[in-house]
Amino acid sequence: MASLKELKDRIGSVKSTQKITKAKQMVAAAKLRRAQSAAEAARPYQERLAAVMASLASKVSGDSAPKLLAGTGSDKRNLLVVVNTDKGLCGGLNSNIVKAAKAKAEELLAAGKDVEFYLVGKKGRAPIKREYADRIGQHFDTSTVKTPGFEEADAIAAELIEMYDAGKYDIAHLIYPTFKSALVQDPTVNQLIPVPSPDVADDSDAVVEYEPGEEEILEELLPRYVKTQLFGALLEREASEQGASMTAMDNATRNAGDLIKDLNIEYNRRRQAAITTELIEIIAGAEAL
C-alpha cells in the first residue's frame, strides 16, 4: 500500500509527463504542416521527371540501355535501403518500417538471395542489428541536419550509385513510410536500382528531338531519378514522423489525464479515510475519560 505522500508524488510525476507529451504533440502538429507542404511542393518535379523518364525509357531499350536501367543481369545480391527516423516518440512508425524490411529480407533469403542493409536514420539500426548483425553494410546519418533535404538525398544517391557501379549489389530496394494521414503511415517497398521500366509508355506521335542524344540524356537522367526517389522518401519520412508523433503524443496525453483522474480519486479517498480514523481515535479517547 502506497502512503499518501507516495500517491501525491506519483500524481506530480504523471502531471509533468503529461506536460512533456502535450508540448511534443503541439510541436509535431506545427512541424507536420510544414513537412506536408514540403512534400507537396516536391511533387511537380517528381511527376515531370517520371513522365520524361517514361517517354525516354520506352525509346532506349535493348543493349544500348544504361546499366542503371537494364540491371546487371543478375538478381542475386540485394540491397535494402531502409529509411527510418532519427528520433523516437512517434508510436509504432519505426517498428512498422523495420517489420516491413524484415519481411522483405526473409522473402529474399527464402528465395536464396543475398541480403544486405543500407540504413538511413538512427532508429532502425538497433532492431535490425539484433537479427541481421552481419548483414548491415553502410549507415547514413541524417541526424546532424535539422531537416534532411536534397543535399542528403544527393549524398545517399551518390553513394548508392557508386556501390552499384563497383558491383557491390545487383538490386536495391527502398523501404520508407508513406504518409497517408496523421493516423496512417504505410511502409512502402519500392525497387530503386535498376530503375524499374515504366509500364505505361506514352505513345505520343510527336517526333521529339534530343540533344545530345537519347542515351546521353537517359544516362544523366537516371541518377537524377534515383536521387529524386530518395528525396521523396526523406520528405515522406519527415511527414510520417511528425504525423505519427502527433497521434502518439495525443494518446499519451489523454492516457496521462485518465491516470491523473484515477490517482486523484484514490488520493482523496485515502485522505478521507485518514481523517475519519483520526476522528474516531479522538472521539474514542474523549469517551474513555
Binding site: 515531370r48 510527336a206 528531338e209
Partner: protein
C-alpha cells in the same frame, strides 16, 4: 501567342507563367524557345536562363544548376536541381 514556361526544382515550382521567349543554356549551346517550338529535349549546363516577358523587353536571368529542358505541347519545362536566389 505566349509561351508557357515552367521552372521546377525538387524544392518547389519556381515559375509557371506565360512569356514571349526563353533562352536556355543547353549542353550543346544556348537555344531560344518561342511559342510553337517543335518537341525537343536537352540537358542543360550550369548557367543563366533568360526569360523575355515580351518582345524586345529586357531579359530576366535566372541562374540554374544541373537539369534538363523539355519542349512539348504544353510549352517549355525546365527541371533544374538548384536555382540561385
Amino acid at each position: 501567342m505566349p509561351l508557357h514556361f515552367e521552372l521546377v526544382t525538387p524544392a518547389k515550382l519556381v515559375r509557371s507563367e506565360d512569356v514571349h521567349m526563353v533562352v536556355v543554356p543547353g549542353a550543346e549551346g544556348e537555344f531560344g524557345v518561342l511559342e510553337g517550338h517543335a518537341p525537343f529535349m536537352s540537358t542543360i549546363r550550369d548557367g543563366a536562363v533568360q526569360v523575355y516577358k515580351s518582345e524586345g523587353a529586357e531579359p530576366e536571368t535566372i541562374e540554374v544548376r544541373g537539369g534538363f529542358a523539355e519542349v512539348g505541347d504544353s510549352g517549355l519545362t525546365v527541371l533544374a536541381e538548384h536555382v540561385e536566389g
